[in-house]
Symmetry: C2
Subunit: 329 residues, 2 copies
């Protein structure tokens, strides 16, 4: 059990740090136990991203708070076209929190950190009294490196909009777990680190013009933001999306719009139309069978997102309003 004294900077805390945290994240930077980490020089541009994670439940099919905290920030760097290099890890822990669960999350992060060679180089632990935080919140910070910016300003009419697989799996997994809906057996969060895919794409294809992961607010938020920021009209096709049967049922039963559902392993790319088919082939051969072209840029100097439905009607895809599912990530 986590006691309040662990957050105080004293001897108990030092012992805790040494035993638990340094144990899982053993590396030369963290082992210096300084206030921060001095890192090797970078050749490219430094890229920074940071994110907080408050998901509930903290453990779910396909992922956990710890996994999400690693992947979420790595993906933010990946979407900038960067190679993720280092992470910082901040824990805010409620007094009385189960030590085994804390270790579970640390192990999840440690596993990914070793798998992808992205060391945890700095961090901080705060323990707050019972009731001051709901269990465990994690903030992560990423430092990456990038040679060049994606050429987003060259987006033009005809460029294709791509997604790397089915949508809604993360949101519906969390929803199903919370509401105990009983269709969880088919459903698993898509939570994963995307940087190997995006770096593969950028290295292979010069026509990758925009990348954004479709997390909170889903595909709808990403496309509306893109349309607004760069004054683009975008057209997408409902029949080009891939949805798992469980997600489809949940959308029908509970009235969710699949375009607004949060994902944790899906990104939208805008790709030069001449490379789009090849990109899909590359994605489907190397990563996911369900990557697809979901639409294209239809007009410049205007700003809208429209969907051609299965029945052939056109509808405007609006910004997601209000809160569909709080604490989804």
């Amino acid at each position: 059990m986590i006691e309040l004294a662990l957050g105080s900077g004293g001897k108990d805390f030092q012992d805790f740090l040494r035993k638990k945290i340094l144990h899982y994240f053993n590396n030369s930077f963290l082992n210096q136990k300084d206030d921060g980490a001095i890192l090797p020089k970078l050749n490219g541009h430094p890229v920074m991203a940071s994110d907080s994670f408050v998901v509930t439940p903290r453990i779910f099919p396909g992922g956990s708070l710890g996994k999400l905290a690693f992947c979420g920030t790595v993906n933010d760097l990946a979407m900038m076209g960067a190679k993720p290099l280092y992470l910082g890890l901040n824990l805010i822990i409620e007094e009385g929190f189960d030590m085994r669960e804390l270790e579970f999350h640390l192990k999840e992060i440690s596993f990914l950190s070793h798998q992808y060679q992205i060391p945890i180089v700095t961090g901080d632990t705060k323990v707050v009294s019972r009731g001051s935080v709901d269990g465990l919140f994690i903030s992560t910070t990423g430092l990456g490196e990038s040679d060049k910016k994606l050429p987003t300003e060259t987006i033009t009419v005809g460029d294709k909009i791509i997604i790397n697989g089915s949508v809604g799996d993360h949101a519906m997994t969390i929803f199903s777990q919370r509401e105990d809906l009983g269709f969880d057996s088919d459903l698993e969060s898509d939570c994963m680190a995307l940087h190997e895919i995006t770096l593969g794409l950028i290295n292979k294809y010069s026509g990758i013009k925009f990348l954004r992961d479709a997390t909170r607010g889903g595909v709808s938020a990403v496309l509306n933001e893109l349309a607004q920021e760069y004054s683009l009209s975008l057209g997408i096709y409902e029949d080009k999306f891939s949805l798992s049967p469980a997600v489809l049922s949940a959308c029908e039963l509970f009235g969710f719009d699949f375009l607004e559902l949060a994902n944790e392993g899906k990104f939208i790319a805008v790709v030069d139309e001449n490379e789009a088919e090849e990109v899909i082939e590359y994605l489907n051969q190397n990563w996911s069978q369900k990557s697809s072209i979901i639409g294209e840029v239809t007009e410049l100097n205007s700003s809208s997102v429209s969907l051609k439905t299965l029945l052939g009607a056109q509808r405007i895809v609006a910004w997601p309003q209000g809160e569909q599912l709080p604490r989804i990530c």
Copy 2:
């Protein structure tokens, strides 16, 4: 009032972001509204630090949660000998939180960010339901740059231990506010950004071998960590410390050990003995009248911290045990 929907990534959230957050932290990196920030190339080594802040009360004489969140991470970079360049800002907000107070903290951060030209380049906002977090927690992440590491491995017998002013002001301010002790009028947190002082020192003196801010666990934790990490025996003198009358009274009344009290604007430096007097003169002329040499390195290859008390007795300065004051930062 902060509504839950603001944390969802939808239209409400975009409006909130645009109006409040981008308003206060207007800069070209943040205005791109990407998942992260691509930054100019660095010449030196990148230095990373990150920290979470959960202080209560959130507003106190001399500071606030916002000010602390800025200064705390800037100071972590400063103690690495780095020049702080950029910050990331993560907010975790309780549903129903007072919008004016949120703006107060954002303004505090914005003011310091402009004053020191350390832009907020990335960040994230999560809103959680009532009871899931106590009001507002802030995590900050810093990226700095450093040309060289401090020569901590050259610390030797005779090197002087320095502090840049009086101790305990932050801890006793928070304690006094919480317990409503009525001696707050004399007392103010020492919360401040220290990087201008430390960069000044490093540029001027080659004999600055170690820097660490004496936050949680106070001077005692810093010295014990130093002694243990580098196998040093350290001797300090009670009469060389400067304490404000209010801190002194509080220590006497409530039995606090001033060496264990948290500070937010004080650092310990280990300095070559030939430069120590000059360093004190520099500090006192430019920054604080109360900087002093508090002790020296007495032995290598052993590990202890001892204090010569006002009465002339020697006592071991142990690691702070347990929790003196939770949520001090």
